[in-house]
Symmetry: C2
Subunit: 397 residues, 2 copies
């Protein structure tokens, strides 16, 4: 944890000031003269916000930096899952090397925190988690990585998975994942009962992928609500994607959002352009914690995506039809503070005493910075410079 004098920055696009950083925390905000031996950086009047947060990604999947992966397969969810599980090793998707590339890319573009789902299945056991954990150790001080033990291939349809999830939580995965209890597992009661039992046993939160759309996804959400109440897990569950909240039924969606707010469920969105997605403005009005993520980037599932949460803010903003400046500011909130709210990060922010995890943004205003998606001039993690002008201080493997 470092000391740093960061001069001439505009916190949240406000008046220019300096940040005095001691021991990796913000010790002062105002005007300061350099002290002997203290590193100094000139922010050039750029906007400063706390570090961007990718709160929903898959570090173990990307082909980033590898030869182009040709995909001429059908876009069927179950087939994508099976293809990846059966071929990822042969394709050469090394979980450590690839998660390094992905995470360093995110850091280069201003992120300081990641929540990554990592596949766990009987074919690979916990080896993919091990690879990402190695990355987490190597990138300590560059970017924080929280790992979700993620049963990508299903829970009930993949015997042995419950035991693997149990072991993964014991070994240090912070969050328990899940996936489409109806669509993938064909047994919603089975998967959800198993997940909540594991979560209670390990006292870990849940973050469940829910691609199920319309009334099917709404049904699964209701099953989740029931189990949160029964287990007293209010405030400890997140639903990723939540495509059902994008269904064309205002009243039904409103009922679901009321329960989501009441049970303090967090929503993670990727702004999936070809799906029905939750309205981030409606969730804001309801007081729901909302974060965002890049999801998988350039993997066997699909080619799109960049390791850049400002690029993702653009995707989320365009998909949500947002145009006004205050709406663009909210998109920026979702890819930063929103992720911190979901992950319940301590000391996240730009107040005195907060951790010195921040990124500078190029732009006249916050709204301008969101649409400009220019290289981040400077990124700081724990008071240490981790990237300049879109390039991380560590090289990609």
């Amino acid at each position: 944890m470092s000391d740093l004098l960061l001069r001439n920055i505009r916190p949240y696009a406000a008046e220019a000031c300096d940040l005095l950083i001691r021991g990796g925390r913000i010790a002062g905000i105002g005007r300061f003269e350099p002290e002997p031996g203290m590193p100094v950086e000139d922010g050039g009047g750029a906007i400063a916000i706390p570090g961007l947060i990718d709160a929903h990604t898959h570090l173990d999947k990307t082909t980033w930096g590898m030869p182009w992966h040709v995909n001429n397969r059908r876009a069927v969810l179950r087939e994508r899952i099976d293809f990846e599980r059966e071929n990822r090793t042969a394709i050469g998707i090394d979980p450590h090397r690839q998660s390094m590339r992905h995470a360093i890319g995110l850091a280069a573009h201003g992120a300081t925190h990641i929540r990554s789902h990592v596949d766990i299945d009987p074919t690979h056991g916990l080896s993919l988690v091990d690879g990402v954990m190695e990355t987490r150790e190597k990138l300590a001080g560059i970017i924080d990585i929280e790992i979700v033990a993620f049963p990508q291939s299903g829970v009930m349809v993949m015997p042995g998975t419950v035991e693997l999830l149990d072991a993964a939580l014991a070994q240090g995965c912070e969050v328990l994942g899940g996936i489409d209890p109806c669509g993938i597992d064909r047994d919603p009661k089975g998967q959800l009962d198993a997940l909540f039992a594991l979560a209670v046993k390990h006292r870990k939160p849940i973050d469940i992928h829910l691609h199920e759309a319309g009334d099917l996804g709404a049904f699964t959400m209701e099953l989740i609500f029931e189990r949160i109440r029964a287990n007293g897990m209010q405030g400890q569950v997140a639903i990723s994607h939540a495509f059902a909240l994008g269904m064309n039924d205002h009243l039904r969606t409103g009922q679901l959002i009321e329960r989501i707010a009441e049970l303090d469920i967090a929503i993670l969105t990727t702004g999936a352009p070809s799906a029905t997605v939750p309205s981030i403005m409606r969730l804001k009005q309801a007081g729901v914690r909302v974060g965002a993520g890049c999801d998988g980037i350039r993997d066997t599932w699909g080619p799109w995506g960049q390791p850049d949460m400002l690029d993702r803010a653009r995707v989320v903003g365009m998909k949500n039809g947002l145009r006004q400046d205050h709406e663009l500011e909210h998109v920026l909130h979702v890819v930063s503070q929103g992720g911190a709210d979901v992950m319940r990060l301590e000391g996240y922010g730009l107040r005195q005493g907060d951790r010195a995890d921040l990124t500078l943004l190029a732009g006249e205003t916050l709204a301008h910075a969101v649409v400009e998606v220019a290289p981040r001039p400077l990124v700081v993690k724990g008071g240490r410079v981790t990237a300049r002008q879109g390039r991380a201080v560590v090289d990609m493997p």
Copy 2:
């Protein structure tokens, strides 16, 4: 029209070869040695495709390169239109300077042709068209600009507009525009009868904005079909946006697409992320001509967009849920050959005899190039280099 030897390029990602260009046309494809006095460029093995085409944009509207335009207004179509008409001059959106910036930006990113709608209304008369025509003259040899006389504020609700459109077509606008005969004009019969009468009088094609969604847009499409038949205008009408084709009724959409194919109507899409959009793969299967465009970029309507048709290909591809390589190749087709098909450009392509309008793309394959959206290494128009590494040879004003 220039001579050029362009060496070591891969047409459509095929085997590397050279292009011999004489008098602005492709004179040979194969292996050639430099001739005395002939300029030579080394393509470095990059992919070559014919120039990108922005077949639906608004050159007269952007605030690109101006101070950030704060937008805290409601996103209501009629209000956006009226705000822009009443404030564009005071804001300083000079149609010539801004269309120069927009068009040069497109050229820098590999475009060689533009179809631009330009606003015509009683407040501004033809002054906005004049500004874009000045840009067209100045950028001759850099990028071709086709102008659509566009009644942005409505036709029947804006008395005097029919006469202005009549004058604009007489003065050199190549295409007649229109907009939401129900939604904006509240008089579909009135607007469409007026437009078709003007088109027949001037023997000009029509390209009509149709934001009307669902059954309303379908109704307007049927009115357009009737008038195409009555006036024998098969093959001479384009529908821009065509949001009704994105409605959630497979059979109804299929009926509309059948008529669109039969009447040889072209469709222009922007892949609008928050709207219902036509499926470009379904239109392809039906044999419909489909082009794409950036639409307005960073204007008083909204902040999004770049003057870059590869960036737009990404928006269209993600919105259409395309993931397979052959699908990505089709997106690239839509932003290049598709636009040429819509505009019926002579000599567009990479065959011997075609015009030497082309762009190089960075990437291993066509699909890779689409998702990479890297700076275009080299852009050539009529045999002359117009941009290198994302920078045009002419400066923005």
